[in-house]
Symmetry: D2
Amino acid sequence: MIRVGVVGATGYAGAELVRIIAGHPDASLTVLTSRQYAGEPFETIYPAMKGLIDLNCEVFDNNSICSKTDVIFLALPHKLPMAFVPDLLKNGKKIIDLSADFRFSDPATYEAVYQLHTSKDLLSQSVYGLSEVFTDQIKNADLVGNPGCYPTSVILPLYPLLKSDLIDVSTIIADSKSGASGAGRSLSLATHICEITESFKAYKVTGHRHKPEMDEILTAAAGKPVDITFIPHLLPMSRGMESTIYAGLKKSVTPDEIHNCLADFYSGCPFVRIYDHGIATDTANVRGTNFCDIGFVLEKDKDRIIMMSVIDNLVKGASGQAVQNMNLMLGMDETVGLKAMPYPI
Amino acid sequence: MIRVGVVGATGYAGAELVRIIAGHPDASLTVLTSRQYAGEPFETIYPAMKGLIDLNCEVFDNNSICSKTDVIFLALPHKLPMAFVPDLLKNGKKIIDLSADFRFSDPATYEAVYQLHTSKDLLSQSVYGLSEVFTDQIKNADLVGNPGCYPTSVILPLYPLLKSDLIDVSTIIADSKSGASGAGRSLSLATHICEITESFKAYKVTGHRHKPEMDEILTAAAGKPVDITFIPHLLPMSRGMESTIYAGLKKSVTPDEIHNCLADFYSGCPFVRIYDHGIATDTANVRGTNFCDIGFVLEKDKDRIIMMSVIDNLVKGASGQAVQNMNLMLGMDETVGLKAMPYPI
Amino acid sequence: MIRVGVVGATGYAGAELVRIIAGHPDASLTVLTSRQYAGEPFETIYPAMKGLIDLNCEVFDNNSICSKTDVIFLALPHKLPMAFVPDLLKNGKKIIDLSADFRFSDPATYEAVYQLHTSKDLLSQSVYGLSEVFTDQIKNADLVGNPGCYPTSVILPLYPLLKSDLIDVSTIIADSKSGASGAGRSLSLATHICEITESFKAYKVTGHRHKPEMDEILTAAAGKPVDITFIPHLLPMSRGMESTIYAGLKKSVTPDEIHNCLADFYSGCPFVRIYDHGIATDTANVRGTNFCDIGFVLEKDKDRIIMMSVIDNLVKGASGQAVQNMNLMLGMDETVGLKAMPYPI
Amino acid sequence: MIRVGVVGATGYAGAELVRIIAGHPDASLTVLTSRQYAGEPFETIYPAMKGLIDLNCEVFDNNSICSKTDVIFLALPHKLPMAFVPDLLKNGKKIIDLSADFRFSDPATYEAVYQLHTSKDLLSQSVYGLSEVFTDQIKNADLVGNPGCYPTSVILPLYPLLKSDLIDVSTIIADSKSGASGAGRSLSLATHICEITESFKAYKVTGHRHKPEMDEILTAAAGKPVDITFIPHLLPMSRGMESTIYAGLKKSVTPDEIHNCLADFYSGCPFVRIYDHGIATDTANVRGTNFCDIGFVLEKDKDRIIMMSVIDNLVKGASGQAVQNMNLMLGMDETVGLKAMPYPI
């Protein structure tokens, strides 16, 4: 049984990790940390778990967590993980960090968006945890920087087409929409039900920090600089993320060619489902699951493609992909613990 | 592997059965019927299931379903099951019927609320499928009449107190609130999002057909006639049901006495969770699960108890309890296939 | 033109007062106060008002507000108003206080639920602002204690029946459900969309501070002590409140007798609409309006009545009734400024 | 008093017309037609209107409606209006048609998307009712084809920039999101609360019939053919529409230049509010109102503009704009009857 610790277990991504690991046949929760709720039983913070999780939250302690775990998930705001990770690695732990701290290969990019990076030397050994794209590197990694939710939803549909050099990279636009759980459990007027119900809006229209993360990976895929246009929006709902992506094609292609390009790239990837041409995706179809569903439509006479992708921002966009990465790092089937059937409604 | 057929697989209760059975380690879906969608792949009706359910819907055919199944769930409107069940039973099938057709022991009660009963002789052998209450009878049954969602949410908290003769039966009031999925997938103005969002209302205030079902079981528990007051309400949400129940106590009791009465009765019942005195339940805590959470508060000086119970109307209120009954009928652990961890949000 | 000040203008009740007064043909907003947003244009706090409200928020200042207003609404948490009101009254202002500070005639009741009352002497001159019940007193008042939302929804249906001595007062139960705007704009996990969407729950089941307020008024109506059972619940929506009220009747009555009792009492009351026997009310029917809709059903053989009432908790439950009271206090038609047609959906 | 008839009064656009006209100081409802509800009081179909609308629904009858009205709104599915309009015009009525029947100047465009047009000769005299753009023509019109909701939300932000030749017309992309009320009151699985809550999806991705309507007007604005990319999406809410529009600029411009271009064009237009550069719009800010709020952001180094516009699809996107057009046609102030203050939440 793999012993698992979740650092920051009471935020939404942390609690979702608790849910998934608690149902994982080969893993067992041994440590849950929370500064805010130290000493309290996890089930009092999340009463849905009454009778199901028999652990108290504790303050993070390096020695304690190292003695009790094999794998550690960090579900903390950025900046904190880079302080904790070096010691955990030295103790031989496998680390999946859900913050931005270990997502970038170039510290300068990180520092331009976040703050000074204090563990720059680890960036070269950390792997970007987009499970379907960097599978082999993840299998060999001790430290994974788990992708942001927006990057996951935008990169997965685009990556195969960029690799196949089908897209004019100067034309890429991603219009993304996220459920409110992406903003986390911290209190904010933006997630007050009276402010968000019957409301839809763009936000951070002058710059969102997930954009450099997308650009870095898409640039690697294209083999040339990519600088997409990205506008995030907030949905009046809890879970779910959709990205509608517009791009000019470098040449005329048929729907079959696009479908094949995607299907070939994601062949053997159980969590990516490719839709037929002209069929729209729906966040409801992936709610609570680790799936990323991808659809597309070609515009006649315009050599423009519109792609749609949907994920559950807390699962494939965060904790589900994190567990998928753990499975890969430990040489297990990537679907273990992630096979719960989706709800029909 | 138990071979399972779901008749009426494309309604919400049917689709929820499909979800649960598809994740059941000892059962396998072999037949899905749907008049409306005959010939279509189930996954095109519920795209969430894309790649997960490899069956087409078919028209109900007695011979075909008998040759391919061991257990049959009927998720049909009342009246249809009583026509199908006799032949299915003769063919040795185990039947769980989610309609009202086999819930009543007295055909007169059924006929007063629904219509003429054409299989009256089977009522004596059918068992009311409230799993925690009629466990032993269910284990020996070939035909189970699965309870309605309102009755499940009202009877579970009251039954132990009535058995212990703690309640003045003339005073029982159940104020129940249901998510809209209880109304099913059929189209109706009442479930149009524009009519129901930001709306809350009572309905069927002059009589709901679930009331006689409650009265029959509560009468048996009390050993004297029970005729409760029951007002159902419609919530602006999809899944979840709460009942707040008011009753006069026959004598002064302490919170501990009530807690013990409930905890003793449901000792060994993994799907019933009893809350401490004064702690309110929340439908969110049981969403997607087979739990029934029960809370209560005593009013000082009034000898009045207020009980709260919450269920997911599609799971413990319908398809989850149906699978729990199947497990019991087949001598398996009642929790098999029903252990998916709840979502924290 | 009546000059109106709103103290605490940026909370939900305050902002709703701003909305209504801004559309009032005989009143004009002259002062908006807000500690949190002092100095900021109101329209930046509520961008819906862009171009419509040309006032900045200011810090409360007794001299300033007295020089610029004729009527002052206090939309503050309890405790603050009792400090401000004495001076405002001395300056000849008409005051409508939306907190609990001036709702009770007996300071002991107030102090048992809230805290020490520092302006006890004013309680005898303040009038409880349930517009339809205390109309004449309100017309002559300088200080009105505007009712709580729950009390408004519970007292309006019960008052006529208690006055007519139709109800056994020991049997009254009010099961009330409120939209989340009743919790105000302050941040709290309870109103986080991810916690409240697809959730329904009771809360404060061991005691809510609106209950003594109801008991005081109902006791006056009945002419004998009333101590109701009251359980509030939280709805997954923004605006709207429903109370389902159960009570034993002292004698058999017909639906017509009940209807007449209600219709007679509320004759000439444009904001109370009485439904026919057996017709359920719906919060959607009063959303955004100052209406209170009342329905009822009689249970055969039980001498029990079930009443339903719906209001918009921010309008008839707070700011709308406050403006209705202002109209009465100033000798105007009570409907002025409150006639906006309801939205069909 | 202007006598007004609403044909198709019980659909959502019709009922919204009823709401607005009932509150219009210079107009009076005299005829409401509905095939489905003929003979029934309007207030029984929309109980929110109880006591407020004293008219029964009637079957459409040309003579009757002509004798009782001065202005007629048609809130019907396309195809029906073109049969009714010729006779109504002959009788001297002013007509505002909310269907697509009289929106196009070229019948071929209409027929390519809808069906055979049987009143082609009237297309030359009908005016496209985008109130702020075709103001003068509307003032002189007897027949107005009221715009679709998507076209209103897309054309208003783009028109001034196209007129000023700032945009490369080959690059225009409109990513639009609509509340479910745009789908109308007819029953459909797409608007079932259980299918739409916690769901977000694109739809009609291979072609929506509002696109040719946009292209025709934008082509006129640009003076050259415009063929935009348009993807509509469905929001899990009732009212509100947002369009995020992406376009390449023909030259570098400053935020001030864009702001001035918009502000100059909409100078004197009380229902268009221009936001400062980088400020996002929100459908909640225009809910229930006739406003169109427009925001924008310029992308450095890319000569790309992103525009955002929000409307209430039932008001500025349908019935509010229709009344605004009536006001213009009758020589009144365009805001009469449309000044209700927005709700803060």
